[in-house]
Amino acid sequence: MTTLKPATAGLLPAVVTRAGNAAGPVAVTEVAAAELDVVTAELAQHPGARLADLFATGADPVILRVVWALDRDQLYLVTETEVEGPRYPALSDIAPAAFAEECEIYEQFGIRPAGGKPLNRVAMPPQPDIKLPTLGHAPAEPPRDVHAPHLVGGQAFEFPFGPVRQVGVESLYYGLVTSGEELVDLYLFTWHKHRGVEWRAQGQTPRQALFHIERVEGLGAIGNSCAFAAAAEAALGLEPAPEALLTRAIALELERLYNHAAAIAALCQACGLAVGRAAAEIALEQLLRLNAAVLGHRYLFGVVEIGGARTAPDLGRLRAGLPAAYGELRRAGDALLSTNSLLDRLEATGTVTLEEARRLGLVGPVARASGIAADARADHPSGAYAALAPVVATQTAGDALARMRVMLAEAAESVRLIETLAADATGMPVGTAAKNGGPRSGLGWSESSRGESLAWVELDAAGRISRARLRPAAVRNWRGFDDACRSQNVFTDIPIIEASFWLTVAGTAR
């Protein structure tokens, strides 16, 4: 991580040039509060720049950090701003992707963007008797509850649905605004699943915190714990052994494979395609059993460790089991792609345009299906990916079908990557790296099956966490979900769109 001089307007060329001169994949720079909006506007204009995360630390003053992914420059740029007083420049006016984080920061730190725009409820439950601890000062006023007026222009009404829904799905509360069949608007509420994981991590060592980080989103355990471990390692100045990085990459690709199989099973279920669902579930179950055989857990819990990996893959079982398990998925995928009734149902359902995906800073297969070739494995290669050059699959239609095509292409690529990685691995367990004395803060990332997962870790003098920030891909992509649902869709499209996004509520309500 490179720390640059405090930045002012006109900052970008200098930063990118320095990064180009091997300043490393992460650069941190201070920005004065008075200049934050100018610098933000400048960065937002930069080609290939995404506002990837926005979060705060501490109280009096609050430090506001914006993480920019400069995908074309292979650089993450973190700007740090001291905010005195209750207000800071409204970044969502410049980069709309920041709005959800502005709401979150208001709830957790009590500071708000200038301009007085209403801030929505994110993690704070509305029940007055439930008082949750915050990360800084509590907000002066409670956040706003989003509601459509009961009758919208005399045409539409709000139909609340959830949080308890169908069998075997997570709790999620929808506010559907409908005129009968067509979806006029849609709100999501997830505060009932907020478990305060960032709050829990405070005062723990990174190693202790990993237990809950893995369980933030069980279907993204590897993606999130790789990002978190990388952040902690950057803060501690640890360099994991190459063998451990191979193990992590193998686990990450196995996670992608089973998630894509699960998404396709869910898509078939949503479309009422029992045979397709069964075929995809056979593949899914085989992939989960392969995970257990190779790395000891169906959902790959307990693989990542700070400074290394806790287990080594059983390469023999990986080579023996992968072709058959993936073969099931490929057969199912091929059959589904020639099933017209399914294709008709998915086509033009839940469309996210390229422009929308950019505006909201979407990531992962959802963004790639809309034509954005962003993939942290290729744009910000780290660990074992530096030598891999993964092929990034994209589509342009942005609908549920495009997302399914992207997932199937990515599954094939994951198998290729696993084979390459396994050829380099020895399967021997390696110890974790031990060297203390890093910069005490660091950024980590990984390309999870749902897209870029980011983490920021700050440690105190005793090596305990003073601030842990985890931004799973689900946090980003749920904000594209409402837009996808709104565009020309009806009620029965929602389960299909939800399956094609394949997000978790747990990942966003961490």
Partner: protein
């Protein structure tokens, strides 16, 4: 308890072609003193088991479900703050490798139809009211199965965010450990739950002699 879902066509076909099945049906009807719709379910539950592997266990389970409920056991799920992995394992119960329908278990999206509640997650305080309402909406006799380490109290401590385990809010009858419990562990837990529920049904006055 409601009609089993799905497979109506298969049943019609069976009854139409098999005399033996019909006799069986009549015998069952005579034995149970029940009428009409429930016998259809019973008939299907006692249809020949087509898979060989776990036939004995399956037959025993079906016999128990059939003898206590006349037809089937309906399962509802409730996520009180899980990480989504428990939900994935529950969904896989319906997948071809496990296929819980063949055992007479069915998923239902309606609490009114549910006999059994599978609860996942550490019971977040913000969710407790919704959990209570789901439980209250189920008809008695009902059974609560805490599913996964979270619901058992092994992942989160009781604190401002959560109660820490399902048992703090709901009367839990059966606990299934695992993080997440595999589908086989879930099936095992459901089996245990069937026994508990059977005891409860036997204690109710509307059954004849307790074992109908």
């Amino acid at each position: 308890m409601s009609e089993p879902m799905g497979r109506g066509g298969a049943w019609t076909e069976e009854r139409g072609t098999s005399d033996e099945g019909r006799h069986h049906l009549e015998a069952a009807q005579a034995a149970s003193g029940k009428h009409g719709t429930s016998d259809e379910g019973r008939h299907r539950l006692e249809a020949p088991q087509r898979r060989a592997g776990d036939a004995a266990a399956a037959a025993e389970l079906r016999r128990r479900i059939a003898s206590q409920f006349g037809r089937s056991l309906h399962v509802r799920t409730l996520d009180t703050g899980s990480c989504a992995a428990c939900e994935q394992e529950i969904r896989l119960l319906a997948a071809p490798h496990y296929d819980l329908h063949r055992l007479g278990f069915f998923f239902t999206p309606a609490p009114r139809h549910a006999d059994l509640l599978l609860v996942t997650g550490p019971m977040l305080r913000a969710f407790a009211a919704a959990a209570g309402k789901t439980y209250d909406a189920m008809p008695a006799p009902k059974i609560v199965v805490a599913t996964g380490a979270c619901a058992l109290g092994g992942v989160y401590q009781p604190d401002a965010f959560c109660y820490g385990s399902a048992g703090e809010v709901l009367p839990v009858d059966v606990w299934i450990p695992g993080c997440p419990p595999s589908p086989l562990a879930l099936l095992h837990g459901l089996l245990v739950a069937v026994d508990r529920l059977a005891e409860r049904v036997a204690g109710l006055s509307f059954t004849v002699g307790g074992t109908s």
